[in-house]
């Protein structure tokens, strides 16, 4: 039986790119240390920060909230979580339940946004009404709602559960399309634009997908382990994930090198053209007169529904006693 390279207890994981075996305790410490180092190296948080964590109900957001909760005293930030009930049949029912159990277990206040009630339609309905692919509508709605919630909660950062595999794959996909502006968004964090957009941070930047799963599993965190019914095997992301994993198998450490180097060169990629504007309907970040969500809802419902989402979140945050906020944060150190 393999033994932990640190303490000699039975091993539950082998980190090939470090040639180390780890027991449960040292494995959890290894992942949390990776997260802490990434947060410090890339200056993701400061003392007194309010961090809003986006929970999908899957393993990555479980690992993200688990690691952030373990580090919150040491790093001195406050956590709030958000889950969007997308209305994707039973998948969303199970995801919501997992997110609720997770937040409760870790003692983190959670805002659940039921899309049907707040926006007036679920993701499958929005896809049908707009004639757009479900994944495209879903991505746009999630970006809007999480940002709106972060602004309403006066959060200093919005934490997302993207792992190293996700970032490696999207980097390669964008490169194949020569969409260099898309690569510029794949760094460990983005900056806030006061009043209209809260900066996003990716604490799992250097954590592998398999490491994230094993962390959530070993820590006993609730998560759903199933694919969204709209995910297709032919999606390029899936194929690229296999390619990246074949490279990792042949050359251990490929993924961590890729994301670390990407973070170093992120500023060399061109930013999307056009100025940052304020949506005329909801006041949040937009590239034209209206933001993408208000453009879409104006077209299909005859009215922009961003303001309604913002108001709903504001009321919920008040009910939970999360706003108005008291303490002001120190700058990221």
């Amino acid at each position: 039986m393999a033994r932990c390279s640190v303490c000699g207890a039975p091993a539950v994981a082998y980190i090939r790119y470090q040639r180390r075996y780890l027991c449960r305790e040292h494995y959890l410490e290894f992942v949390e240390e990776k997260v802490r180092r990434a947060m410090e190296k890339y200056r993701m948080v400061g003392k007194g920060y309010r961090v809003l964590v986006a929970l999908s109900g899957g393993k990555d957001s479980a690992a993200l909230l688990g690691a952030l909760a373990s580090l919150r005293e040491k790093l001195g930030y406050e956590l709030v979580a958000i889950h969007i009930d997308l209305g994707i049949y039973e998948y969303s029912v199970r995801s919501r339940e997992a997110a609720e159990r997770l937040a409760e277990k870790l003692g983190v206040p959670l805002i659940v946004v039921p899309l049907k009630e707040v926006l007036g339609a679920t993701i499958p309905e929005l896809a049908k009404l707009s004639g757009r692919p479900p994944c495209s509508v879903c991505g746009m709605v999630k970006r809007y709602v999480t940002n709106a919630a972060a602004v309403e909660l006066e959060a200093d950062a919005l934490a997302l559960g993207h792992n190293a595999d996700d970032l490696a794959v999207y980097n390669l996909k964008s490169f194949l399309n020569q969409d260099l502006e898309a690569i510029s968004k794949l760094g460990p964090k983005t900056e806030s634009v006061p009043g209209v957009a809260v900066g996003r941070i990716r604490p799992l930047y250097t954590v592998y997908e398999k490491e994230s799963f094993l962390y959530a599993y070993l820590k006993g965190l609730p998560f759903v382990h199933e694919d969204c019914p709209f995910v297709e095997n032919q999606q390029m992301e899936r194929q690229l994930k296999e390619v990246v994993n074949r490279l990792e198998e042949e050359r251990p450490g490929t993924k961590v090198q890729l994301v670390t180097k990407l973070a170093l060169r992120i500023r060399d990629y061109p930013r999307p053209r056009g100025e940052i504007r304020r949506c005329k309907a909801c006041g949040l970040i937009a590239s034209g007169d209206l933001c993408a969500l208000d453009r879409l809802t104006l077209r299909i419902f005859g009215e922009p529904r961003g303001p309604r989402i913002r108001e709903w979140i504001r009321e919920r945050a008040r009910e939970l006693g999360l706003i108005p906020r008291r303490a002001a944060p120190a700058p990221a150190s």
Partner: protein, 73 residues
């Protein structure tokens, strides 16, 4: 011929894999299934196994495919 029983998760499909009398290393078992060790976690009685652990004839293991989440926004 000796064999081990593998349950693929989340698909739920069960397979019997022929192995030698001494059993098979986890890493080799995963490759015999045509899977990449980087994309699965192998569990025996719910406990994660490492690449060099041996699965003996007659034992059952779960091979869990690590699923990816949604899109990067």
């Amino acid at each position: 011929m000796a064999s081990v029983t593998v349950r693929l998760v989340p698909e739920g499909e069960e397979r019997s894999v022929e192995v030698g009398e001494k059993g098979v290393r986890v890493r080799d078992l995963v490759k015999m299934l045509g899977l990449n060790p980087e994309s699965v976690v192998v569990l025996r009685d719910g406990a994660p196994l490492v690449d060099t652990d041996i699965v003996k004839p007659g034992e059952r293991v779960d091979v869990v495919r690590v699923l990816s989440g949604g899109r990067v926004g």
